[in-house]
């Protein structure tokens, strides 16, 4: 009798474990389906990284309400970063870093790729105690938003320069960050963060398609971009199988 009870208890425990593991598995599946169908805010919770660059992104979500700092010419500036109808691309640059030189030069010569109209580029350097306003004024063109603020660097936990952060203007959440050596690489970050594949493919989305198809295309593009697969990536065009040997056929 005792043996029978022990066997039953063990069997019940086993069944219980099986049910718990099935529930956990189901919960995971539901979460993944929600992410794929856009019901869960995966893009906004996990800062995206883009191909070919290192990223200092942490697991914590960075939310920013506004950027406060001083321009090299001495203006005290408050720029909104949330509750706005455009996104922000923040370029953390410095006067001393070698890699920043070509980025500053491209800014001065207006040799930038075409960023989307919903994006505002703001260059943020360290504050006046760590950078010379005169030197920054010399490096930056006058028609560029430049702000000096060590607090902003600290808030973003900027690991060094050059570094870039993409802020979603509606929420103020940092949805993409990383480093880049050229503005074309930065455009890749923008495409990844915004899910706008047309930025890097140069092919605008066909708006005559049914809205459901467009939405699915955008979802697929976003997932591929977050995985670092840009338009034209060779993995999207696998070698076609042209010949079958009799052995393969078997």
């Amino acid at each position: 009798m005792t043996v029978l009870i022990i066997v039953e208890v063990v069997a019940l425990l086993g069944l219980g474990l099986l049910v718990v593991s099935l529930l956990a598995s189901y919960s995971g599946l539901v979460e993944r389906v929600n992410v794929v169908e856009g019901r869960a805010p995966s893009r906004s919770n996990i800062p995206a990284q883009f191909a070919g660059v290192t990223s200092g992104a942490s697991d914590d979500v960075i939310v920013v309400e506004q950027l406060i700092g001083r321009t090299p010419s001495g203006d005290d500036v408050l720029l909104p970063a949330s509750g706005i109808d455009h996104d922000l691309l923040i370029a953390f640059l410095s006067s001393g870093c070698t890699s920043c030189g070509s980025l500053w030069e491209a800014l001065r010569e207006h040799r930038l790729p075409t960023f989307p109209p919903y994006l505002r580029l703001v260059v943020v350097t360290r504050g006046e105690h760590e950078e010379s306003p005169a030197q920054i004024a010399e490096l930056a063109p006058t028609d560029l938003d430049v702000m000096m603020s060590s607090d902003v660097w600290q808030h973003f936990a900027t690991p060094g320069s050059p570094y870039f952060a993409y802020v979603e203007g509606s929420t103020g959440r940092v949805v993409g960050e990383g480093t880049a050596l050229t503005w074309d690489q930065v455009l890749g970050l923008v495409a990844t963060s915004s899910g706008d594949a047309a930025l890097v493919s140069g092919v605008p989305r066909d708006q005559s398609k049914p809205s459901g198809d467009l939405r699915r295309e955008e979802d697929v593009d976003r997932i591929l971009l977050q995985a670092g697969i840009l338009p034209g990536d060779p993995s999207l065009f696998p070698e076609p199988v042209t010949e079958f040997s009799s052995e393969q056929a078997l």
Partner: protein
């Protein structure tokens, strides 16, 4: 609302609005003894880095629901003129105070308002531009929450 200050001026800025407290740097062609006083630009839309005191370069890109506010300091000399006899910065601005004729530069659909006053012995101009009639309903109430928070002190914070 976020507290923002500089050059002896402080104010609270509503969420989504941009604020810049500036002063024109001395120019080589300045008259002897010419002074450059601080000014504030506030906007519900992105301000370009280069703008004229009355918003030239910025107001051209306004949409009907946008608002631009400039607070211009004309210094102590201006305070003695008849134009600036009103004491204290207006704490409220009425919709009826807006018209196209109040604009520094008339642009289609835009409305403006100019108020002159003296604050702590300094001649001050409050200049507001609305992108269109829609902003009378949506942005004037917001501006009226900002105005009471503006403080202009005699002391200018830095040279």
């Amino acid at each position: 609302m976020t507290f923002h200050q500089g050059l002896g001026i402080s104010l609270h800025v509503p969420r989504g609005w941009e604020a810049r407290i500036s002063r024109t740097a001395p120019q080589v062609d300045d008259h002897p003894g010419e002074q450059h006083h601080p000014y504030v630009h506030l906007a519900s839309f992105p301000l370009p880095p280069v703008r004229a005191h009355y918003g030239g370069g910025a107001v051209e890109s306004m949409r009907p629901d946008d608002a631009f506010v400039a607070i211009l300091d004309f210094g102590s000399d201006a305070a003695h003129s008849n134009l600036f006899t009103s004491r204290g910065l207006p704490r409220k601005i009425a919709r009826s105070q807006f018209s196209a004729r109040q604009l520094q530069r008339m642009l289609p659909g835009q409305l403006g308002s100019q108020q002159f006053c003296t604050v702590d012995g300094r001649g001050i101009v409050l200049y507001v531009v609305l992108g269109g009639a829609a902003a009378l309903r949506t942005k004037v109430p917001v501006i009226n929450t900002i105005l009471p928070t503006i403080s202009i002190s005699k002391e200018v914070a830095r040279p």
